[in-house]
């Protein structure tokens, strides 16, 4: 644990050269070097319009960095944000997660916690239902500290246990916040055990939320989502119903949560 932390810390420091609080143009354009971003964009020329990412400039715990991404946009059938994608340019696997939104999401605003292997630029891409793209970036310097060493005490018996917070009542036409957390180690697939063997990837790879049968939100997670995946999103229910949520991990294990939502 010790040495891994140290290595991360050093890599982190090394990568931070040239970073400053006022992000130079070079890093603002970092996404242009990111293959998966270019693939996603195709020929589209994105703008940063309305897309906002909150990420601390410095993190002392690179294994759980709070991230919120939001788009200032209507969320109606005619005009809404269709998907949001997150990338980290220096993670072993740059794709962090992707979210598919619907008008039922009510607000294009998602919070989660991510892992960064070193100091780097996080890229968010949003796509509207009209095929327009938004891109924004945030730099995060990872500064591990011996004073903040974490205890990796994972108990497999807790796997797939979840917590949710769903509003019982929502005023018609308004949206409400939904919180979810599922216990899971989110084994990255990049770690080695004591004998030098690679520990296979074992993550929760998907999350879905439906109001009755209608999709609200779908999320595809990658290794860069922190252990015990955490998700905060919005819901604008047009009518009373049941919010059904489901997670699935690489072993095919699923967890299902249900909560009644009343519209008043």
């Amino acid at each position: 644990m010790m040495s891994r932390r140290k290595i991360l810390c050093l890599i982190g420091a090394g990568a931070a050269v040239g970073f400053s609080p006022t992000v130079p143009a070079r890093t603002r354009q970092q996404w242009r070097q990111l293959e998966p971003v270019l693939e996603l964009l195709g020929d589209a020329e994105p703008t940063p319009k309305g897309l906002k990412m909150e990420l601390p400039p410095v993190s002392e715990n690179s294994s759980a960095i709070p991230l919120t991404v939001s788009v200032d946009s209507a969320m109606t059938a005619e005009e809404h944000v269709e998907s949001i994608h997150l990338f980290a340019n220096r993670n072993p696997n740059p794709t962090i997660a992707a979210f598919r939104l619907t008008p039922l999401t009510g607000q294009a605003r998602i919070s989660t916690r991510i892992r960064l292997s070193e100091s780097q630029t996080v890229v968010a891409v949003a796509r509207t239902n009209h095929g327009q793209y938004r891109v924004t970036t945030r730099d995060c310097r990872v500064a591990g500290s011996g004073c903040l060493m974490r205890n990796d005490n994972h108990d497999p018996r807790d796997d797939m246990q979840f917590r949710i917070r769903v509003p019982e009542t929502v005023t018609r036409g308004e949206d409400a916040e939904v919180l979810t957390l599922i216990m899971h180690p989110m084994e990255t697939g990049f770690r080695e055990d004591e004998t030098g063997r690679r520990i296979p990837r074992l993550i929760v790879h998907s999350f879905t939320a439906h109001l009755d049968a209608a999709p609200v939100l779908e999320a595809a997670f990658n290794s860069a989502i922190s252990a015990n995946p955490y998700l905060r999103f919005h819901l604008r229910p047009p009518h009373s119903g049941t919010l059904e949520m489901q997670w699935e991990d690489d072993l095919g294990r699923t967890a299902k949560a249900r909560a009644a939502v009343r519209v008043s």
Partner: protein
């Protein structure tokens, strides 16, 4: 100081003292003696150390320390006071030695504002102090916007006691008045905040107090983190010393407090659990002290980014900032780090006033935590500049071993006491 002949030094010292003794509060136009004038704001571990060491490194520099309180009460060891193991008075340190022995001009005043263009600070009485270099050691302020229901008024019912003073007394009185069998709740914030192991030392020492005086009581530590400083050592110690008295609830177990009802002494967590306490101690999220914001050295994080080689502000020239207010990760926000950063910043300021390059920095940290009066643990680290950023020296540092004998823990507890005496002496000079 390389190369300045002793005799000239003696003359400079004499001149420096002379100017300092006259005081320049009424003469804002005169920026300093022949070595320059440094104004230091804040008389805690960072500010007092910097003032002393600037004078030590170059006595021709006039140093004015602005600190409104006659005595500084330390956060380190204030948990001992909460547990009834140390008198509050023994946490206090005055400025006589800095004045008498080190020739620092100590001005008891509040700094209202800083004009970093005209290079002066404005005191509450309207007078101004001109500076050649400014060093801020503002410490932290509680972020009253960060936690719903928790502001200055709420802290009178549910104290934070994260600055030693009236808040500490309030919490101590509440603990004394608590019924046996009550629940003490501490809500700990996410990083970064002052003193990473502080909340865990606090519940340890309060458990020590409760075990002796109110043994049926419980302690609930609600945490906005999934891991914390010296965690395995604390967990081991809690089990050995206090059995099941302390329950820790981390972030993923819904430990993050989002709402406080201070009058009811009730908190609500992220996923909606409510906990009611007999004594509620809320350690809220924090930010750099007010004067740092006034001086324009803070960034969107609420903390102060500094150039690591000197601890000069990244945003404002000639303003240096040390201690808890800075973004110095991986160095923690500790008294030891503030003292270490201040000594380096003092050398950098002296070098800058002498038109020399700053010295190559090396910093250290040692944080002792007491789980009981005879049970101490530690974390230590050495830090240097690696590729332009502060980094822990590879293969150095670390925490006390797990499963060490009671003699080892007792020794670290004694060292903690000794450390406190030494660092306070190094910061404020010998106690009068």
């Amino acid at each position: 100081m390389a190369g300045v002949p002793i005799s000239r030094r003696a003359v400079l010292r004499f001149l420096g003292l002379g100017v300092a003794a006259l005081g320049a509060r009424g003469f804002p136009a005169i920026a300093g003696g022949d070595g320059g004038h440094v104004v230091v704001v804040g008389g805690g571990f960072g500010g007092a150390t910097a003032a002393r060491y600037i004078r030590r490194f170059d006595p021709s520099i006039r140093v004015t320390l602005v600190e409104p309180r006659a005595r500084f009460y330390t956060c380190p060891f204030s948990n001992l006071y909460l547990a009834g193991l140390r008198s509050f008075d023994k946490l206090g340190h005055g400025y006589d030695a800095l004045r008498r022995i080190h020739g620092v001009d100590v001005v008891p005043a509040w700094v209202e504002d800083v004009d970093t263009v005209a290079r002066h600070v404005r005191l509450r009485d309207g007078s101004r102090l001109a500076y050649d270099r400014l060093l801020l050691s503002p410490g932290v302020d509680m972020d009253w916007q960060a936690l719903e229901g928790y502001d200055a008024a709420a802290s009178e019912h549910a104290p934070h006691a994260w600055k030693a003073g009236s808040q500490s007394h309030r919490l101590r009185r509440q603990l004394e008045a608590m019924d046996d069998g009550g629940v003490f709740i501490l809500s700990a914030p996410a990083n970064p905040y002052r003193c990473p192991p502080g909340p865990y030392e606090r519940v340890s020492l309060i458990a020590h107090f409760l075990k002796r005086h109110k043994p049926r009581s419980k302690i609930l530590l609600l945490d906005a983190k999934d891991g914390f400083s010296k965690q395995p050592l604390f967990m081991e110690g809690w089990q050995a010393l206090y059995g099941g008295m302390i329950e820790w609830v981390g972030l993923s177990a819904d430990g993050r407090v989002l709402r406080v009802d201070a009058r009811r002494r009730e908190v609500e967590t992220e996923f909606g659990a409510r906990h009611r306490a007999a004594v509620l101690n809320v350690v809220p999220p924090q930010k750099a002290g007010l004067i740092a914001h006034r001086a324009g050295v803070t960034d969107r994080s609420g903390w102060v980014p500094v150039k690591p080689e000197t601890f000069e502000s990244r945003q404002v020239d000639n303003v240096y900032v040390v201690g808890d207010a800075t973004v110095a990760a991986p160095m923690p926000k500790s008294a030891f780090c503030a003292n270490s950063q201040a000594r380096m910043a003092a050398a950098a300021i002296v070098a800058s006033l002498q038109n020399r390059a700053p010295p190559e920095p090396v910093w250290a940290n040692t944080c002792y935590s007491l789980l009981a009066p005879e049970y101490g643990i530690s974390v230590a680290g050495v830090y240097r500049l690696i590729d332009g950023e502060i980094a822990e020296v590879p293969n150095s540092g670390g925490i006390s071993p797990l499963e060490a004998g009671s003699d080892f823990r007792a020794r670290e507890a004694r060292y903690a006491q000794r450390w406190y005496a030494s660092i306070c002496d190094d910061t404020w000079g010998p106690r009068g």
